[in-house]
């Protein structure tokens, strides 16, 4: 939300950035036009194609270009490249408030300007004014990259915490600045290579450096898309497979929602939540082999039928065991019918021996089983089912999980509506 505090902050950043530029232009070194134009062209293309480096975080390639411009032609050139980089057409079209655009430009110019000041202060000089050995620019360049990092982290965190009205430290943690830092190191190194190739006027070399990045960019984008679509892919296929039993239709999807909500409430890591979501979607995949009559039978099951049903966690685990991607869910699927008092199947293991994710899945699974209609009985109302959860806590289900689940169910209307 753009409050007046945000506007004040943005104005201050832009003012500082402008002062910085004025200061730097008094110390400018002779510049060549072609390298700067080249770098501007590169960032315009990459920014508008939303380049993502194949490492964590989404730092764009433009830092490398701005850094190269600083090393090659001095800080003012870097500022020019940074401005070009932050005028991103698709961003502007996206209809965000003007102050956010101003902030993006201002903080980038200020950060890169401070970096340039540090570079000059420590005796670094532009490569364009004569070839320099790496040892001459090593210290100033390192300091410049560090300055950029610190300035950027502080400015972005303040901006984000004002905008989202959260505490500063919380924002710093949530923005993942560690992976940002490691990307920055790589991009700075890339910038050094670009700067030297520019100073040799090695256009062919530059082309050879840019081409791999362009091709990796495409691959990496597809990778990100496929990664994001993985869970929904599993969901559509599982939904299709579940279609055979009218009474369990949608069951896995609902269980996945409950389980995810519990895990998030219990503060599990992002990757654990993802594993749990996949496990929940696939937890009954071994049930397909059980004949329809057994599954929907209102009568008492025979021993054979019972054995068949009890086999489904193992069968399900076996089905996914060959999928590298689902390696982590095998145990979760296998143990989702274990009970904390050891009375579950297939292995009859106890309490803490059951993986935590499987205990969460078990709670979500029983709750959905209780609240949905079956051939032989209608579904239980929510309140009654919550009471039932409480009753079996510590015996069938894990106490801590149930406590979290009950809290989620009573707090979070979203989860309830999901059913």
């Amino acid at each position: 939300m753009v409050t007046s505090r945000v506007r004040w902050f943005v104005s201050a950043v832009c003012m500082c950035a402008a002062l910085q530029v004025v200061y730097l232009s008094s110390k400018s070194s002779p510049a060549q036009v072609i390298p700067i134009l080249l770098l501007v062209g590169v960032v315009l293309v990459t920014e508008n194609l939303a380049f993502q480096l194949p490492i964590a975080g989404s730092v764009s390639l433009s830092f490398a270009a701005a850094f190269a411009a600083m090393l090659h032609s001095g800080p003012i050139a870097a500022v020019v490249v940074a401005i070009a980089a932050s005028t991103n057409l698709s961003e502007i079209r996206s209809g965000k408030p003007l102050s956010i655009h101003l902030f993006n430009v201002g903080q980038l110019v200020l950060s890169i300007g401070l970096a340039g000041t540090a570079y000059l202060a420590l005796g670094g000089r532009a490569l364009v004014s004569g070839a320099a050995a790496l040892s001459d620019i090593m210290l100033p360049a390192t300091a410049a990259a560090l300055t950029f990092y610190i300035a950027n982290v502080i400015l972005v965190s303040i901006g984000a915490s004002l905008l989202m009205q959260r505490r500063f430290l919380q924002t710093v943690q949530s923005l993942g600045f560690f992976s940002f830092g490691s990307s920055l190191v790589v991009l700075a190194l890339l910038g050094v290579l670009v700067a030297y190739l520019l100073s040799f006027q090695s256009w062919f070399g530059l082309l050879l450096l840019v081409l791999p990045f362009a091709s990796a960019r495409r691959t990496f984008r597809v990778y990100v898309e496929l990664t994001e679509a993985y869970s929904s892919t599993v969901r559509s296929l599982v939904t299709a497979i579940e279609a055979k039993d009218p009474y369990t239709r949608g069951h896995s999807e609902r269980v996945a929602k409950y389980a995810q909500a519990i895990a998030e409430h219990m503060g599990l890591s992002q990757s654990d939540v993802q594993v749990l979501e996949r496990a929940a979607l696939l937890h009954d995949v071994g049930k397909i082999g059980i004949s329809l009559d057994t599954l929907v039978s209102p009568e008492e099951l025979s021993e054979d039928e019972m054995r068949a049903i009890r086999r489904h966690p193992v069968l399900g685990a076996d089905l996914v065991t060959d999928v590298d991607f689902l390696h982590d869910i095998v145990d979760v699927v296998r143990c989702h019918h274990e009970r904390c008092d050891g009375g579950g199947y297939p292995d009859g293991i106890l309490g803490e021996d059951i993986p935590l994710l499987a205990r969460i899945l078990a709670a979500a699974d029983s709750f959905d089983a209780m609240t949905s209609d079956r051939a032989y009985r209608p579904g239980m109302p929510f309140d009654q089912a919550i009471g039932e959860l409480r009753r079996v806590a510590g015996k069938q289900l894990d106490e801590r999980v149930v406590a979290g689940f009950v809290k989620v169910l009573s707090d979070d209307a979203r989860v309830v509506r999901a059913s």
Partner: protein, 390 residues
């Protein structure tokens, strides 16, 4: 047999080594150590191909080492790195992995040594201290030859180990690895260009960037593999409630990919054929009544329509039963005929099934039947390598 071939290669190599190197720069232990480390890191970050094999690409280090210093130190460094790599694999995967690693190391050493022949044709001095961009071209040429030798020997090695024929093996390797090789060659050229000014820092930076870029391709290959395995597992799961059908989708997929390849479908089409065959019955689940059966391809197509990874597979599923010449993708007809063959085979046997299909089918589908007949009679038990869906 692979050992024999390796021995011959290594023999050829030693001769090449002796004949090949032009001048010998003074031995530099730090350089060799750095090179060893680079090779070892590169080899540990192996790339897993869709077929399941792991390959190591250390081309960039090889080209740079070759061009800057010649083959002597490179071979020593590589040998040590290979030992580290084999030990690492032994710890990770036991004797089998170590054996694979040894075989592959011998091959790679042979490749590097063979390359010293090529290196003697370029002017090393001009490459070591490049004035302009000219020498970059010779780096690219050496890199390209390097790739050619590497891929060829790799394909031969896989063929000897029971893999695809050499020509097909080369295609299967170059398709996923082409971009990785390109990255390596280009970055080798950049490293050599900046080397006079940046020294080992420049080489290290270029290597780091190469490995990061390579990793993005590796991630991409890994997620595609993950999708392929997931779809296969779910296709298998979908058959569990029809014991008569168990394995039907897998068999149809193997047969359809093999037949499609012989009918000249592109590798993109083949991939779609494979997935369409695996999932062609997915719309049947939950609708066992005969009258609903006619619509199952439509339902199946709708199910996969929302899945980005399966773009273009839907139409093949939709048309696999009804497709005739002109009105449907070729892949749909391949899947359709293979599906019919597999079902008829169950009741009528191979011969009987083929007779029915030969009498029934017309046009393009009839041609498919001929290829099916040929494929089945060539190799009745094992139609195609089990991991044909890439």
């Amino acid at each position: 047999m692979p050992y024999l071939l390796s021995l011959i290669l290594v023999g050829g190599v030693v001769v090449g080594w002796v004949l090949g190197h032009v001048e010998r720069p003074p031995f530099d232990i730090l350089y060799v150590l750095g090179l060893t480390l680079s090779f070892a890191i590169g080899r540990m970050l192996s790339i897993q191909l869709p077929q399941g094999d792991r390959v190591q690409v250390t081309l960039m280090v090889g080209v740079v080492g070759l061009m800057l210093r010649g083959a002597d130190e490179l071979l020593i460094a590589f040998l040590v790195a290979c030992m580290i790599d084999v030990a690492y694999r032994y710890l990770q995967g036991g004797a089998h992995a170590a054996r694979q690693g040894t075989l592959d190391s011998i091959r790679s050493i042979a490749v590097i040594a063979l390359m010293s022949f090529v290196q003697s044709y370029v002017n090393p001095a001009s490459v070591r201290a490049p004035e302009g961009d000219g020498p970059l071209l010779s780096v690219l040429v050496v890199g390209a030859v390097f790739v050619a030798v590497d891929v060829l020997t790799l394909a031969v090695q896989q063929w000897l180990a029971g893999g695809a024929p050499i020509a097909e093996g080369i295609v299967l390797l170059l398709r996923p690895l082409g971009s990785v090789y390109m990255v390596h060659i280009a970055m080798a050229a950049v490293a050599i260009r900046v080397h006079p000014s940046l020294g080992s820092w420049g080489l290290g930076t270029a290597l780091l960037l190469t490995l990061i870029l390579q990793n993005s391709f590796n991630l991409y290959l890994r997620i595609r593999r993950g999708y392929a395995q997931t779809i296969e597992a779910l296709a298998h799961a979908a058959e569990l409630d029809r014991p008569d059908d168990t394995g039907h989708a897998r068999r149809v997929a193997d047969l359809a990919v093999s037949v499609g390849r012989q009918m000249g479908l592109t590798s993109d089409e083949l991939e779609k054929v494979g997935y369409a065959a695996l999932l062609h019955d997915i719309g049947r689940i939950g609708y066992e009544q005969p009258e609903a059966d006619i619509e199952h391809p439509d339902r199946g197509a709708e199910i996969v329509a929302g899945i980005p990874f399966l773009e273009g597979v839907g139409p093949l599923i939709r048309h696999h039963r009804t497709a005739h010449e002109g009105d449907a993708p070729r892949g749909a007809m391949v899947v359709g005929v293979c599906c019919r063959y597999d079902r008829l085979r169950k009741t009528h046997g191979s011969r009987g099934a083929l007779d029915i299909l030969l009498a029934d089918e017309r046009g393009y589908r009839r041609t498919v039947v001929d290829v099916v007949a040929r494929t089945v009679s060539i190799d009745g038990s094992r139609l195609v390598p089990a991991k044909s869906v890439s």
